[in-house]
């Protein structure tokens, strides 16, 4: 199979990140039914995702994986030839959605919670089925010329 030069991505780190997103949103969603301040987890998660997008060393869940889960053998690494940009874009998009969700939490909590749930659903789809909606949006933006996408190889596999 033909391969082109590209980076590698540890998909276990991505899975831990997605698990973290789903878990935090669910805790905020269910928790807020009994203890409203639990909603503060949503803006916090937005900040964590956005910080992690621009400064990977601040990506909380990935750091948890690299510093704790991987060294202790709790989660095994799964390194795949891949590019990190679409995944970072997807994470940033999730962060932006959660930021918008946070803005709605006080004036229109239904909208705010619904947006946060959508982020959790998309993270779960990626976690369970490997389908990354943010990466597809990245592809479409690349096709439209909004993002500079490096052409890959063309030939016989």
């Amino acid at each position: 199979m033909a391969t082109s030069p590209r980076g590698v991505v540890d998909h276990s780190a991505l899975k831990v990140n997605q698990t973290g997103i789903v878990a935090i949103v669910l805790v905020a969603f269910i928790g807020s039914a009994f203890f409203e301040p639990a909603l503060v987890l949503i803006p916090l998660l937005a900040v964590v995702l956005l910080l992690g997008t621009f400064a990977p060393q601040l990506a909380l869940f990935k750091q948890l994986y690299f510093k704790v889960l991987k060294p202790r053998g709790i989660v095994r690494p799964r390194v795949v030839q891949d590019r990190p940009e679409p995944h970072n874009f997807a994470q940033g998009l999730g962060g932006v959605f959660l930021l918008v969700s946070s803005a709605f939490l006080l004036p229109l909590p239904v909208v705010g919670l619904a947006l946060a749930l959508l982020v959790a659903v998309l993270a779960f789809i990626n976690l369970a089925f490997g389908y990354c909606v943010g990466c597809q949006i990245y592809f479409q933006l690349g096709r439209a010329g909004f993002i500079k996408a490096t052409p890959g190889t063309t030939g016989t596999v």
């Binding site: 679409p86 909590p109 389908y131 990466c135 890959g152």
Partner: protein, 139 residues
């Protein structure tokens, strides 16, 4: 609690609408892409696969390429959907990966938008071989 239930209902409605839209889009694109032709090597009679991928496609690397590797002896033409945009547009490639099962004559028989498992591709290739045999028997 009512807020949470309304939020759940709103999010479910959006997810269902998105799923319906995706289903409609893939069916619409498939209906327009099946039957199209692509250049083929003269003398080829075996069906082959056009595999649309891209440098940024993770599912291609983690799922689609291992599935394609299971198809022993099948010609797979790898196409970068961004570099070869004209060909990708012709087959209405709106998502990656996309696999197109082509007849030996270079006519598209099945289009799979999104990940297609090896079993599905094998079935489509078997159908394509069957169609080839029927064509040669009646010729």
């Amino acid at each position: 609690m009512a807020t949470q239930l309304w939020a759940l209902a709103a999010a479910s409605a959006v997810v269902l609408a998105a799923a319906g839209l995706e289903l409609w889009r893939s069916r619409h694109a498939r209906a327009r892409a099946v039957g199209l032709t692509a250049t083929t090597t003269a003398g080829d009679i075996e069906p082959y696969i056009l595999y649309f991928t891209g440098e940024n496609c993770s599912v291609c690397r983690t799922h689609q390429e291992p599935a394609l590797a299971k198809l022993a002896g099948v010609r797979i033409d790898k196409v970068d959907a961004i570099a070869e945009r004209e060909l990708a547009d012709r087959f209405h490639v709106y998502t990656l990966p996309t696999t197109v099962v082509m007849s030996g004559e270079g006519k598209s028989l099945n289009v799979n938008y999104g990940y297609a498992p090896a079993t599905k591709l094998e079935r489509q290739l078997a159908d394509a071989r069957g169609a080839n045999l029927r064509v040669s028997a009646t010729a």
